[in-house]
Symmetry: none
Amino acid sequence: MKIKTFNPDYERGMVITMMECAKMPPKVKAVYRAVIALFVEGADLNSLTVAEIAGKAGIGKGTVYEYFKNKEQMIAGALFYQMKECCENVYAQLAREKSLYDRMNKILLNMDKERTEISFFIRALPVMMDNSTVSGRLRELWKDRGEEEAPVMELMRRLIEDEVKPVKELNGKDTDYLILTVLSRIICYAVYRFGGRGGLGLDEETMRERICMDICRDVDSIKGL
Amino acid sequence: MKIKTFNPDYERGMVITMMECAKMPPKVKAVYRAVIALFVEGADLNSLTVAEIAGKAGIGKGTVYEYFKNKEQMIAGALFYQMKECCENVYAQLAREKSLYDRMNKILLNMDKERTEISFFIRALPVMMDNSTVSGRLRELWKDRGEEEAPVMELMRRLIEDEVKPVKELNGKDTDYLILTVLSRIICYAVYRFGGRGGLGLDEETMRERICMDICRDVDSIKGL
Amino acid sequence: MKIKTFNPDYERGMVITMMECAKMPPKVKAVYRAVIALFVEGADLNSLTVAEIAGKAGIGKGTVYEYFKNKEQMIAGALFYQMKECCENVYAQLAREKSLYDRMNKILLNMDKERTEISFFIRALPVMMDNSTVSGRLRELWKDRGEEEAPVMELMRRLIEDEVKPVKELNGKDTDYLILTVLSRIICYAVYRFGGRGGLGLDEETMRERICMDICRDVDSIKGL
Amino acid sequence: MKIKTFNPDYERGMVITMMECAKMPPKVKAVYRAVIALFVEGADLNSLTVAEIAGKAGIGKGTVYEYFKNKEQMIAGALFYQMKECCENVYAQLAREKSLYDRMNKILLNMDKERTEISFFIRALPVMMDNSTVSGRLRELWKDRGEEEAPVMELMRRLIEDEVKPVKELNGKDTDYLILTVLSRIICYAVYRFGGRGGLGLDEETMRERICMDICRDVDSIKGL
DNA sequence: GATGAATGAGACTTCATTCAT
DNA sequence: CATGAATGAAGTCTCATTCAT
């Protein structure tokens, strides 16, 4: 069965960049949007059915197989595509906040809200770390793009560089470590929120405050290095 | 369809403590061990089949339904059971290390080895955060034990209290937040290792050093509060 | 799991009238015919399997679930559908007989032949009276059509009204009771034939004569009321 | 596997007469009673499980296979055994009623009540007429006892002979036919009650009155022959 | 003799994928 | 191009029956 290619890389990696986005057939876009919509609505990615996806995308079940070899490609592709786009949007949204503290607080605050781009990030994390076929495919897509950073990392990097670069030029390793530290603090909040509070006695308000403050301190200490 | 109970709490929460372990019917143990074995071998928890589990456990497919209401109970139960046992073992292992730095370093080093109890934790995290039936069931088990902390949290707490208590009495909130901070640093390494390195230029050795140092600093700063 | 509807009432009652028969998807017809065929061949309705039904219908096992929610719907629907159609046919057949006596005799004679529409009725009676899921579903179909009579009753009513109306106008209750009386005499023959003769010394010929005569007497006595 | 025989006929027909009842091992009795109890409570005979039966009988699931070759033997045996005993009891009960009318009315009135021996009769009828393994086995038991009448028929015969014999000696054929006629009137009420009223406008009170009256008339007309 | 733990055959049902229209 | 009807592989779960204790 021949797949409608719209890009030479497609067959192999189905890699979508912003530029490729324009070339993407509308049905592919529709499928991606459908997967994301269902995911954001709370569906478990592992139990999504092709029927659901096609239905939500408003196209025939058979049609999706004109554009995708199998279900995993749909889901992995959608996550990958969304990650990129999402990062742009989140970055744009955060740019409107005044300070680093506010930006981080916004991330944490938005995590709870359904249908937020930020909550999408958090909920997508486990999918990227398990051993399912989808995550495997997703990691392939990643690898095929070895030169670029994972979108989440890139987002973090941009947020941090915006903060630090005007003040001080940093070596790569310090920045990289800072990125991971900040990301891990955010994940920490996610674990606290979604992974069952785990018996801790902290309220969310306090949690957010402390985390944002600590992130700011992490960044400041680098600035002063 | 009566389930063979081996403990009054079983039906409700299928909660297993060390003491209950003795009372656990051997077939239940076998199923748990099978699930964990398959998981550690790299299987995706969401696509485990009852046939696989029963096969690995060396018992008949029908037999597992004498002890479990459905597949989700098997998997969630196994994870839950393993979490508890795992924590005990990891704690015991770490006790042999001289300093907090060494203990943390050991955790991180173990993470790299496949088939390590610690790598089990990391790989189990996503399962606890997605929206699958298993994760739902797992959270129920959690809730049914509201009085107890999540095992990972408890492990962290013990490690930290062992360090801090001899020196200074701490209020609950500070300890709780410290637990999360330390956990987040560990997760940070996990993201670095498993989440697709994402183009970062740090080598593992350096990562571990920095993380352990930071953890020690976090703890020390609390001590000196 | 959307079911292919072919009629607005379908989802709710799966009610099939002669007119609806045309609109019925061929696969639904095939399933109904398969169930009836198997039933007439002597299969026990309670132990029919979906595989058997699909096989007999000449379609894939999965296909039947495009048209039916579950096995019970197939069987109950088939019985219901056959009942209606059967009544029409029997009525048409009987119209060719000269007298009420001959018509009743024909019913009884047909009962002996396997694979007769009338024998279908008799064999279907127990299914309607037991406590199986199928009978439950069948009674639901019935209820959903509260305004209409059960097809057997309707057949009886028509046979009797054809006989009586030309002579005398009857009140509803008398007709209703007469219907049941006539039906009971027919059941009487069925019990004699199928219920294990139970040691009775009557031969079939005599049985039929007496029953037909009694039915005629019942009807005549109403006429002369 | 050897079956515990308690009677030479057992292996073949498992026939139980009143006298054999004494010899019947208590576990067999318990199983029979359990089946009947479950049946009277409304269970569908086709979906009874061995576990249910053994549980209700208060004996081990394995134990029943010491006394029965398979599930069908349990159910068929129970029905057969109960039919005989039941007939005795119903006959005794009815003897207390003053007139034939009252006796018939009692039958009809009891039909509705759960846990009545009479309702057992009616509900057992369909089982005897379908094509299930149980009904097959039941008919075998019947045949093995060819010399005796079906218990229901015998009950009817006794009721009618009690009425007619004192007045007039009858030839066998007339009595036999009368038996069937009376039985069919009773079944008719059962169909009306349980088989979905079928759209008839008659209330139960009237139905019973008419049926009893007609039965009395049937019997009287024979008396006066 | 009695038991119930163990089992595997087989039932129902879902769903990714194909293919004729 | 697009579709959705058709399908069979595969999964979950039930339960009659066996057998070691």
